[in-house]
């Protein structure tokens, strides 16, 4: 088990790693990670080929039926691992193609910036060819002319590994014109960003790819209809694309079976855990694994602290309580509890942490990262931060908590162009629901005395 990996963090240099050894991972149960090496070095082309790499593309090219790829993906119901959980197969079936339409783009969303999320980094740094293979399959299915990996600028090592792997794939004939003698051509470029969380929103990402400010676009038209440069474009998360090769090779039934009877969602998932736990890390586990099992693997809370609350999949998901640890972590179950699975990487909150302080930290993040396009987000979030700062210092006034309720509601789904504001609202609303007394304790001033200063927009 995971305990067999010694804690090697003597130097403070950070290295991404999986907490499961090679002996624990098998091709039929760990499609995302079974090829990873215990030494954490990248799996380059030779080794990838030895471990059945590019077999899936070989199969798909020889069959030459893009509709079959989409049908298998739909049947497998691979749900988007960037956090939204939308069926990748369904998304692909909506891409406009054929007739005299131009071939479009296959864009990999590798802008991993959701606080508490560190899974795509591992896949890109240690197994670049799995992503490339998934992208080729995506390009086949969507008739994409060219692919982009939209990579956050801070992932320097991932950029280096991906660029070298793309070069390897090109030299071996897996990218470029006439892939493996099939007549299909497709190539990939790594496009690195320059900061800003909002780039992870798919239409903002497309604007950023086009060299513009990363403001979201109105939908419809959806990217599959009109995306990058007006061409049909598909945007999929790294982990989603890394699932594709095994699904195409082994079939939808096998994929559905990976999660057993835990959940209706199929497949495996890169789950993780961070915060004040003994062994923070990443594990590939069946979809529908419980929070309890993940927290156990992480060794529980440090220093004998108790669990107060947890975020199931990043800063934009809602707080869950210890009683929710028994639930299978899949998209629908977590959704029913007023939260979202999100990225599936748990953030653990200990009992000695003030929820008001933690919310202040989270909302400072959302306020700073707002692109400024929509009013509730641009002006509402700094206001939320100011109110939380007052409450944190015991300087809030009566009505502040109701005002937080209202500001959060104003950021709800459908009131802004993208999901940034709803993502900022969800942790706040769940914190106010579960821990309202902590916020009430921050009310220390009579009405009308606390908020004389203007909202410090841009300085939160």
């Amino acid at each position: 088990m995971s305990e067999s990996i010694p804690n090697q963090r003597r130097s403070v240099g950070y290295r991404s790693r999986l907490m499961q050894t090679e002996a624990e991972r098998r091709a039929d149960t760990h499609p995302l990670t079974w090829r990873l090496r215990d030494d954490g070095e990248a799996v380059w082309l030779d080794e990838y080929l030895r471990k059945d790499g590019y077999q899936s593309v070989r199969k798909a090219l020889s069959e030459g039926d893009p509709h079959a790829i989409i049908a298998t993906m739909k049947e497998a119901n691979v749900r988007g691992r960037g956090g939204a959980g939308f069926s990748a197969g369904l998304k692909w079936s909506l891409t406009l193609q054929g007739g005299d339409r131009p071939r479009g783009y296959l864009i990999c969303n590798a802008d991993e910036m959701e606080p508490g999320t560190f899974k795509d980094r591992l896949l890109m740094e240690q197994q670049p060819h799995l992503l490339i293979e998934g992208m080729i399959l995506g390009a086949l299915a969507n008739n994409s002319r060219y692919g982009y990996i939209f990579l956050r600028g801070e992932y320097v090592e991932a950029a280096r590994v991906l660029n070298r792997a793309i070069e390897e794939a090109r030299e071996a004939g897996w990218l470029g014109p006439d892939i493996n003698g099939s007549g299909f051509d497709f190539d990939i470029a790594v496009h690195t960003g320059a900061g800003r969380y909002i780039c992870g929103e798919e239409t903002a990402l497309i604007n950023s790819l086009e060299g513009k400010r990363a403001n979201p676009r109105a939908k419809p038209p959806f990217p599959g209809q009109s995306g990058a440069w007006g061409k049909p474009s598909v945007v999929n998360n790294v982990e989603t694309l890394c699932n594709v090769p095994a699904v195409i090779l082994n079939g939808a039934g096998w994929y559905q079976g990976l999660s057993g009877d835990r959940t209706d969602d199929g497949g495996s998932k890169l789950y993780g855990c961070s915060g004040p736990v003994d062994n923070p890390g990443l594990w590939e586990l069946p979809m529908g694994t419980t929070g309890m099992e993940i927290l156990d693997r992480a060794g529980g809370l440090r220093d004998n602290r108790q669990l107060k609350a947890w975020l199931p999949g990043g800063a934009s998901t809602g707080f869950l309580l210890p009683e929710h640890l028994e639930l299978p972590l899949d998209f629908d179950t977590v959704g029913k509890e007023g939260s979202r699975l999100g990225t599936g990487l748990l953030t653990v909150v200990p009992d000695d942490m003030s929820m008001v302080s933690l919310m202040r930290n989270l909302e400072q993040f959302f306020a700073r990262e707002s692109c400024g396009w929509c009013t509730p987000c641009r002006d509402g979030l700094p206001w939320v931060v100011k109110l939380l700062q007052s409450l944190e210092q015991g300087q809030g006034e009566p009505g502040d908590i109701e005002l937080l309720d209202k500001l959060a509601a104003d950021c709800g789904p459908g009131l802004t162009f993208c999901a940034h504001a709803p993502g900022a609202a969800m942790p706040l609303q769940t914190a106010l629901r579960h821990f309202r007394h902590e916020f009430e304790q921050g009310v220390g001033k009579p009405r009308g005395e606390a908020h004389q200063d203007p909202i410090p927009v841009g300085e939160v």
């Binding site: 963090r9 403070v12 240099g13 950070y14 991404s16 790693r17 991993e112 910036m113 959701e114 606080p115 508490g116 999320t117 560190f118 795509d120 980094r121 982009y148 600028g153 801070e154 992932y155 320097v156 090592e157 470029a189 496009h191 690195t192 960003g193 320059a194 900061g195 800003r196 969380y197 950023s208 790819l209 086009e210 060299g211 513009k212 400010r213 990363a214 440069w229 993780g272 961070s274 915060g275 004040p276 923070p280 890390g281 990443l282 975020l311 800063a315 990487l345 953030t347 653990v348 909150v349 200990p350 942490m353 933690l358 930290n361 989270l362 400072q364 993040f365 700073r368 990262e369 692109c371």
Partner: protein, 170 residues
């Protein structure tokens, strides 16, 4: 591509000239995209790699190479947090202030940086060695609290690690 626009008269380029190698690198980027504006962010990063930051005078020069208006370049240059519009130190420290780091000692680490460097966010040490900036989740949460110095990611970092760590960046 659009005809180059004589933008230098509009904004005043103050004689800023792109390094020929940078111009070549920017032109090479164009190969990846349907339209030249897409290379805008990379062009800004190329200029920043040489100068450490992107001075105002570089904006019309980049616009000319790309064949787009300077406003489009300026709009992008002021949006992205990793494009620096004022001089920075020889090394830039990006401190992750997101939730997992916040839960595992960010406050102490940030305070230690402020104490040891004598600067706060957005400031540069007097010897132009370090600039301190916040950054959103570095995706190193299993190594929280984390920070980056230039291209290197570190974590978990304690206040005690800092002197030794900073020594590596003269």
């Amino acid at each position: 591509m659009a005809e180059p626009v004589a933008t230098s008269q509009i904004i005043g380029s103050d004689g800023f000239e792109l390094h020929p190698a940078d111009e070549t690198a920017i032109l090479r980027e164009l190969e990846h995209y349907e339209q030249p504006q897409a290379a805008c962010i990379e062009a800004l990063k190329i200029v920043q790699r040489r100068h450490g930051w992107v001075p105002d005078e570089a904006i019309p020069a980049i616009a000319r190479v790309l064949g787009i208006g300077p406003g489009a370049v300026e709009g992008v240059a002021t949006f992205y947090s990793l494009i620096f519009r004022q001089p920075v130190g020889r090394h830039v420290i990006l401190v992750c202030d997101s939730s997992s780091c916040f839960l595992t000692g960010f406050d102490e680490l940030k305070q230690a940086l402020v104490d040891q460097l004598g600067i706060d966010y957005g400031e540069t040490t007097n010897d132009s060695r370090f600039t301190l900036l916040p950054v959103c989740c570095l995706g190193a949460c299993d190594g929280a609290p984390a920070l980056m110095i230039d291209d290197d990611t570190y974590g978990p970092v304690t206040a005690d690690d800092l002197p030794g760590l900073l020594e590596g960046y003269p």
